[in-house]
């Protein structure tokens, strides 16, 4: 079975161009399916029998105390870390555990890291241009020109991220929040099916948080989005469904209200705040 799978994926290996519609099979519901995943670092189980399903078009928030394994989970999905056991599927067709990082990225999983890195000397527009799906070999890049649809797509992402007015300014002058949006915009340029966003609002002002919430909720439906965040207020403002991670496995799942009234969740969070006190 997995041999057939991997043979079927051969054609993707040398494929630099991601088609706008990636061949992800979501007819059976979930876009991301993780089953019994375990990762051990020197005997320490960072992820322990994790089960997680994300539906196509869903906006999912993952919360959990420090060290719960949230970032590690993203590392597994993007191919950066290999689990010891378990299954990770993207749609019903792609077994992510048989693919490497670039292949997974090409397939349509975009990831925003905690620390934003944009090209400061280039304009906001140019940052998006470079991130766009295109033939990225040397000579095609030399003669590349933006055609109408490409320009429109950049304009659209500029609107979505609220950076339209700053399009010609160098990215270096952007505020911290604006850089985060630009980075999300750069991910969007590749038209990902699934967006993984790690702590997007850390260090943001109230207003910037609101804008980010709008941006992420606006994406849901078109893309599937998984957000890891510590800020409860922020999570409440965007989440329809929340997953609480604790010691590498799912502790609770449901609406924000359900989760917050769950005694086990309260215990974990109270326990943590007592320790901190």
């Amino acid at each position: 079975m997995s041999l057939i799978q991997s043979l079927a994926q051969r054609d993707r290996v040398f494929d630099f161009m991601v088609p706008a519609e990636s061949p992800v099979d979501v007819r059976h519901g979930p876009i991301l399916y993780m089953e019994d995943v375990t990762v051990t670092f020197d005997g320490f189980k960072a992820i322990n029998d994790l089960n997680l399903t994300v539906d196509d078009g869903e906006l999912r928030c993952i919360i959990g105390p420090n060290g719960a394994g949230k970032t590690t989970m993203m590392d597994i999905i993007t191919g950066k870390t290999r689990p010891d056991q378990g299954k990770v599927w993207f749609g019903a067709r792609h077994n992510l555990l048989t693919m490497n990082e670039p292949e997974i990225a090409t397939l349509g999983i975009g990831r925003k890291f905690q620390k934003p890195t944009v090209f400061e000397a280039l304009s906001v527009f140019e940052n998006l241009e470079l991130a766009m799906t295109a033939d990225k070999r040397v000579l095609p890049t030399l003669i590349a020109r933006l055609d109408g649809p490409a320009r429109e797509w950049i304009d659209e992402v500029l609107e979505m991220t609220g950076l339209a007015e700053l399009r010609r300014r160098p990215a270096g002058i952007l505020s911290h929040g604006q850089k985060q949006w630009l980075e999300i915009g750069m991910l969007l340029m590749q038209r990902p099916r699934l967006l993984l966003v790690d702590e997007p609002v850390a260090g943001m002002t109230e207003q910037e948080m609101e804008r980010t919430a709008e941006l992420l909720t606006g994406l849901a439906g078109k893309q599937s989005v998984v957000v890891v965040e510590h800020d409860m207020g922020f999570v409440r403002s965007i989440a329809r469904k929340v997953t609480v991670l604790h010691q590498g496995s799912v502790l609770a799942e449901g609406s924000m209200d359900q989760v917050q009234s769950d005694p086990r969740v309260i215990e974990v969070y109270l326990g943590e705040s007592e320790e901190a006190a």
Binding site: P102, L122, S123, R137, T141, L142
Partner: protein, 375 residues
């Protein structure tokens, strides 16, 4: 077309305009104004200007890799010298039987070393097209091999600078050896003519000056086209955040290699224009110090502007001409002093002053909605 894009840039229009005006002015003052008139530009000065222009082209080549790719090459003198040697080999073979020993094929130094026949790598240099092609291909090939190895192993930063110094130093030692077949420490000299024109005539000197100007202008346009293309933006992205660029799916080492090879070829072209104007090429052009000096020109003129490199090369070399005439011993101190002053007071070089004005204008036009223009 990406190649014609620079013609729309104000700074490029201005640069080409100034260059053409300067070339015309020098030509007129040399040809039309009679000798003895205070405004007359004599052949010696025309020759000197031609030399400055070839240095300016060399500086542009260095700025292309340093300014836009972040690769501080301290070995561009090597590409310059190899281009110069390729031209020198063609010029040597043009001498024919007019040499001291009168050998119809062998250059004097080979007769002196009692060599029987031409080494294989001297074959073909009797033909101008072959020699001129080698001016570009020989430095290009060296850059290709060197760059391939360096960029593939991700050697960057100060380590790359050091191995470029090592490269030019090793080549200098090699070219000093008589057995190499490049004339040893004396190098190649006593050239007679180029394409049938006598190198000592005033007309040929003017021609070489103009050829240097044309080469500088054309190379400048080529570099602007590269820098203004999407590839140029990938280069800047690589310079500022290499890992991030790689993460976006660009094979960074291939972009670095491409630009490095183009730059080496331009440096070779500069060397080829320099050699007939000074009448000699010897291994001292490979000296590590010379390569460092080129970087100083670019730093003084202003990095990552291209025109700054031209300004820097001409200013420093003019100052050098003046100084070595008046106080030869003080030149190195003057160069060092200039460098310190500029880095302290003008961190963006002379071009930084000019760019400040451009930038203000650009910021004003930012407010106006319209077509996307890349600065």
């Amino acid at each position: 077309m990406w190649l014609t894009q620079p013609f729309n840039e104000r700074s490029t229009q201005l640069f080409i305009g100034v260059l053409l005006a300067a070339m015309t002015l020098v030509t007129l003052l040399h040809v039309v104004v009679p000798a003895g008139h205070p405004l007359h530009v004599n052949a010696y000065t025309v020759n000197l200007f031609g030399k400055y222009l070839s240095y300016a082209l060399l500086a542009v080549a260095v700025d292309l890799v340093w300014g836009y790719l972040g690769i501080l090459s301290l070995g561009h003198g090597a590409f310059f010298a190899i281009g110069g040697y390729a031209m020198g080999m063609y010029l040597m073979r043009q001498i024919g039987d007019r040499g001291t020993y009168g050998d119809p094929v062998l250059p004097d130094f080979m007769v002196f070393l009692s060599w029987e026949s031409l080494p294989w790598y001297w074959l073909g240099f009797d033909m101008a097209w072959f020699g001129f092609l080698m001016v570009l291909l020989a430095p290009g090939a060296l850059a290709l091999v060197f760059g391939f190895l360096a960029f593939r192993s991700r050697v960057t930063g100060v380590y790359l600078s050091i191995i470029t110094q090592a490269l030019t130093f090793a080549l200098m030692l090699a070219f000093y050896r008589n057995e190499m077949g490049f004339g040893g420490s004396d190098g190649l000299t006593d050239f007679r003519d180029i394409l049938g024109f006598n190198l000592r005539s005033n007309e040929t000197r003017l021609g070489l000056f103009l050829a240097s100007g044309v080469a500088l202008g054309a190379s400048y346009l080529l570099c602007r086209a590269i820098v203004g293309s999407k590839l140029g933006r990938v280069c800047v992205a690589t310079r500022d955040a290499e890992a991030r660029t790689r993460f976006l799916g660009y094979r960074v080492e291939r972009f670095q290699l491409f630009v490095f090879v183009v730059s080496a070829m331009l440096a070779g072209l500069a060397g080829a224009l320099y050699v007939p104007q000074v009448g000699i090429i010897n291994p001292s052009e490979f000296s590590p110090l010379f390569s460092i000096e080129i970087v100083l020109w670019v730093a003084l003129g202003g990095r990552a502007t291209l025109y700054g490199a031209v300004i820097g090369a001409i200013l420093v070399n003019y100052a050098k001409t003046v100084f070595t005439g008046v106080m030869p011993d003080a030149w190195l101190f003057a160069l060092g002093g200039m460098f310190v002053l500029v880095t302290v007071f003008l961190p963006k070089g002379v071009a930084g002053l000019l760019a400040y004005r451009f930038k203000r204008r650009r910021d004003e036009s930012d407010a106006a909605p319209g077509q996307e223009v890349t600065p």
